[in-house]
């Protein structure tokens, strides 16, 4: 989160300098007014979106996700992976380590692809914000049109490239080993 804020501050400073060069303080004021106007217009709906995001994160727990994927998935892997991916809350710093754990404990590469696609496409905790800022219509269109992809692509990967599951499992194990060695060297 801190890195995000710093990155955005740098972007904002570059843009402020650009605005000042292009049109002086008036243009900068115009920019602040435009941003402020948008913020005020979406503020009530934003509060609602966050209350719902809070409900979702309280109703869905990490243990639920582990329990589903721990069942040993077989051909249902991509289906369960999709469902779990859509429901699991948290950003990439949280879900990529989670996926690595799932890979090591036996999830196929198709299951993992399904999980990541569902997580990045549909992450349920993000939907209220998208509805609030982009609108319900576009959000629903996007959800409907992307509906087949996570399961379909996951199953395709498992069917066409079954040998990839073991290769990727070895890759992940290797990365974790190297990371541990790095950690112990730091001690």
């Amino acid at each position: 989160m801190k890195k995000t804020v710093i990155g955005m501050m740098i972007a904002a400073v570059i843009l402020i300098v650009t605005a000042l060069t292009l049109g002086g303080p008036e243009l900068l004021l115009e920019a602040v007014a435009a941003g402020g106007e948008l913020l005020i217009s979406v503020f009530p709906i934003l509060i609602l979106a966050f209350l719902i995001a809070g409900q979702i994160s309280e109703l869905i727990s990490e243990e639920m996700i582990y329990r589903w994927l721990g069942k040993g998935a077989g051909w249902k892997g991509p289906l369960i992976g999709t469902l779990a991916g859509a429901l699991v809350p948290g950003g990439p710093f949280f879900f990529y380590p989670l996926i690595a754990t799932l890979v090591v404990s036996g999830a196929s590469s198709g299951t993992v692809i399904s999980f990541i696609l569902a997580k990045t496409l549909w992450s349920i905790g993000r939907i209220p914000l998208e509805i609030a800022l982009v609108g319900a219509e576009l959000t629903v269109i996007r959800l409907v049109l992307t509906l087949p992809f996570p399961v379909l692509i996951g199953m395709l990967v498992n069917t066409i490239l079954p040998e990839y599951s073991d290769k990727i499992r070895n890759d992940v194990a290797e990365l974790q080993k190297r990371k541990q060695e790095g950690d112990s060297r730091d001690d």
């Binding site: 948008l38 913020l39 496409l121 576009l138």
Partner: protein
């Protein structure tokens, strides 16, 4: 705006009912969690709206419309996801920016392609993918995913455009 409000109210009502059935104070905790999330992202949100305003006044609307608007045609389905994939800062930065800068200009196809590209091909995820899953996985994912945003945009354009 009204439709968004209604959809969110319905979602909230369903979730409140689900939480109420647990009878363990989930609803009270939800309000606290939601509020804490809002407070945590407030700096990002404020910056996002400032940046959105700045881009609105510094990047000429004609440029956006030329590359991504209706006149860009099918090119918008490729450029849209590429621009989306580059935008960093997570949903709290992307959605305000999209709403302020792109939504008025781009057609439904490019809009869908761009949001889809932002979410599933985001370059900000690459360091995590390399670090936790390795280059072989990154290539596999790129290979099976790269065509999805343009295709989704194409479908949106022809079904809902």
């Amino acid at each position: 705006m009204i439709d968004a409000f209604i959809v969110l109210l319905v979602m909230g009502a369903v979730l409140t009912a689900a939480a109420y059935r647990r009878k363990d104070g989930t609803n009270r905790r939800s309000i606290k969690t939601g509020w804490r999330m809002l407070v945590n992202v407030t700096p990002v949100l404020l910056l996002a709206f400032l940046i959105a305003g700045l881009i609105e006044v510094t990047v000429p609307a004609e440029a956006i419309s030329y590359w991504l608007g209706e006149e860009a045609g099918w090119k918008g389905l490729i450029i849209g996801p590429a621009v989306g994939a580059l935008i960093q800062g997570g949903p709290f930065a992307f959605f305000p920016l999209f709403s302020a800068v792109f939504q008025q200009t781009v057609g439904v196809g490019t809009a869908i392609a761009m949001i889809t590209g932002w979410s599933m091909l985001n370059i900000g995820h690459l360091p995590y993918e390399f670090a936790f899953l390795g280059p072989r996985f990154v290539l596999l994912k790129l290979f099976v995913c790269i065509w999805v945003p343009p295709l989704t945009g194409f479908l949106a354009l022809h079904i809902f455009g």
